[in-house]
Symmetry: C2
Subunit: 452 residues, 2 copies
């Protein structure tokens, strides 16, 4: 018999990891909810006609395709087979696994446009699948947690994203993070200012690699992409060390004085900042970074990225404003702004910095340990009493040595154990042991129920 | 451009449905947790070597198979193609979508057996996929919510399942349900008693259809399956109208006096009942039904099934005790008992009986409506104050007519609206409107924050 195994790049999440993951999910969900975002779930499988062509050629390759049910060869000709795997795929597979949450969201909006109250604020927390080569921190199945508002251009939405990011990370206990913000229009203005108008796309793609490859290599790439030496020289102010964001804004206003687009981007950024302050932003982690581009050509306004400081883990959240979410499905003109939280990386940050609260790893609070069958007459009513009070409690189901039962409590990280032997039954005072401190006390069942 | 569509048998869950679904999930999760069950999640894709052969030939057909990435034709020969779709599948597909939560659970237990503290109490709430023909109430993607204990034969586990079922449905507001219980050993004893020892398998399969096809057709099926007329005559007591469960038990003890196995089943059932009572079972919905078989040959002890009364929706929960969960993966001897809650059917029952609490359909509690831009100086601090207090609140992001903003509140079922016009700004008293009753009052921001 073959040993069972997991598909490459996929993972089981056992109780300990799930406790921590649920803590992250619950925290994000509660914050989304408090900001008026409503839940949406879409199916794991989408029609390939919905998915294909939305993520570029590489994305199309990375889609997991589902084989048609039944006799999928029924209508396949020899010519189809001779045409090779890529062409044959379209004949034997109609469905694929969700690659992100944005395309399914856009499809949902289009299919339900008449029933939706705009602006539509939705959040979605579901796994996505990518046939990427698995490596450290990169999986073939992973969760995305997205919140988007579509159907409004109001910059209040950007300000609320700034607030949500602060709340999510503070509620998670990640105090030391930086929320970088930029605006596509500023990048466009820079392209204008350096004499390469309309070239903010390639500019952004190169700049996006600044953290990874450094300034000199970014400049080399720009040269390769056809930027002139003069343009590259004029890019100098962009690499000025990031200091105070307000100073940077003032400098930008001067540098980009001739670009109406840049001035609009700067004004938007200032409004977002002021609105966030009006919404009570304090101890802000918000920082203007004109080099922030996120390489994604579909952002049209604000661009966000969050990094946890003092850990070598990439960005843990990102997003921005985009036009034309649903254009690919025949409904143009819907703009929106969104933010995505990377649960796996947030998990890694919190694990490395030991930020998970003890409660996230506890499930059962009390284990009742009977020395023998007699103890059950006391154990079962106590069990019922505790559970009625909302306490997660269990009794060890078998008659077993006390040591074995205590081992079980330790393995499950159960913080309290109630011991019931003959003395306890006679006196009505049960031994309650704190499994962390080792401290013991004798209490009645009523006193025990009141402990939690 | 093609209109986007959903794959057959799959569904989107919009905000209203999600609110209700999350209410069900949260209720079940909290109950599982209170009984000491720990969360597990496994990947959507499993290796086909793990899934195939576990669900019978029909099940193998109903698995969704995932096409290998890259050039899946690379090693495929002409002979492979000539062999037809079924054989070719094994050459071009290595992975499939999860068909239930039991096989992945068994795989997890085997792969982690050295790290697991037994007995292992796990719950799992995830979607599964089946390439079934879609029809009313039958989907190709649906959630299962399972709780299982493995590694113990203790009947405390069965009693706890009885308690959990009562708690889950009461917490959901489904008061009128019946929890039917039977024991495979009693069915085996009946087979013995009617002179067809060892034939409880086919007997169970036929009996399982009693609700659907009626007694006469069940008997016909038994004849077809080779049961003698004498055996069928002796089956008579089985169809006696279900009355009081205790009376039935007494009758069974007499009828099946000669079967040691049946007596063991009856004794087990009695112990489960008594233990549940010791655990505080009151106003019990538990009912012995000797015709309950659930057609599943792998149950070896208790069998459970839950039906909601006064609705024509099938069983909403079911389970039982099984031996040898992990035998197929080379680890024999692990017995367990489990229960599965059918979220989709529970949803249908609750929707039909209008049992969802209003809170399950509300997300945002307060919408702040500004008459003009000036109102924002009051709106934004109030928004922040409400959210800090944990109240889900939002401001309409655009400057729009009041009617449009109120329509938005109604569409999102937001129960309270705060109106801010010039009078409100001057006096500091804001108008709070209850959108359900239409009632209005003038309150300060502090008073508003205290409302919720």
């Amino acid at each position: 018999m073959q040993k069972p195994s997991l598909p490459k790049g996929t993972r089981d999440f056992g109780p300990e990891q799930m406790g921590k993951r649920l803590f992250i999910f619950d925290t994000i969900r509660q914050t989304f909810r408090r900001f008026g975002f409503q839940p949406l779930e879409t199916p794991a499988m989408e029609n390939l006609s919905v998915l294909m062509g939305k993520y570029g050629d590489e994305g199309d390759q990375l889609l997991f395709k589902v084989l048609n049910s039944g006799d999928f060869l029924d209508k396949v000709t020899e010519a189809d087979i001779a045409a090779g795997a890529k062409k044959l795929t379209t004949k034997i597979s109609e469905k694929g696994l969700r690659y992100d949450l944005t395309v399914p969201f856009a499809r949902y909006v289009v299919m339900n446009r008449h029933a939706l109250a705009l602006p539509f604020k939705r959040y979605q927390m579901q796994p996505v699948w990518r046939a990427d080569r698995p490596q450290k921190g990169r999986y073939r199945e992973f969760y995305q947690c997205d919140a988007d508002v579509v159907g409004t251009d109001s910059l209040l939405c950007e300000a609320e994203i700034v607030m949500m990011v602060h709340e999510v990370f503070r509620n998670l206990g990640i105090e030391n993070f930086t929320l970088k913000i930029n605006n596509r229009k500023i990048l466009a203005g820079i392209a204008e200012a350096i004499g390469a108008p309309g070239q903010e796309g390639p500019l952004a793609v190169a700049i996006d690699k600044l953290d990874k490859i450094g300034r000199e290599k970014v400049l080399d790439e720009l040269r390769e992409r056809g930027f002139s030496e003069e343009s590259i020289d004029r890019l100098e102010p962009m690499f000025a060390p990031t200091g105070d964001s307000r100073e940077t804004l003032t400098e930008l206003k001067v540098w980009l004085a001739d670009s109406a687009l840049a001035q609009k981007g700067i004004a938007e950024l200032e409004e977002v900042w002021q609105t966030a302050e009006a919404l009570g932003l304090s101890d802000s982690r918000l920082e203007l970074d004109v080099t922030l581009a996120r390489g994604l050509s579909y952002y049209t306004g604000a661009i966000f990225e969050v990094k946890a400081n003092n850990v070598s883990i990439g960005s843990i959240s990102g997003g921005g404003r985009y036009d034309n979410l649903t254009g690919a499905f025949g409904q143009p003109g819907l703009s929106g702004v969104g933010i995505s939280f990377g649960v796996d990386r947030i998990y890694d940050v919190m694990d490395e910095l030991q930020l998970f609260p003890a409660t996230a790893q506890q499930s059962t609070q009390v284990l009742i340990v009977c020395f023998d069958a007699e103890g059950r007459s006391v154990a079962y009513p106590l069990l019922s009493q505790l559970r009625t009070a909302g306490v997660a409690a269990e009794a060890y189901p078998d008659l077993a040595k006390v040591k074995k039962q205590l081992d079980y409590a330790n393995a499950k990280q159960i913080p309290y154990v109630v011991l019931i032997g003959s003395e306890e039954i006679q006196t009505g005072k049960l031994t309650v042991k704190n499994m962390v401190t080792g401290e013991q006390q004798k209490l009645t069942t009523t006193e025990i129920a009141a402990l939690f």
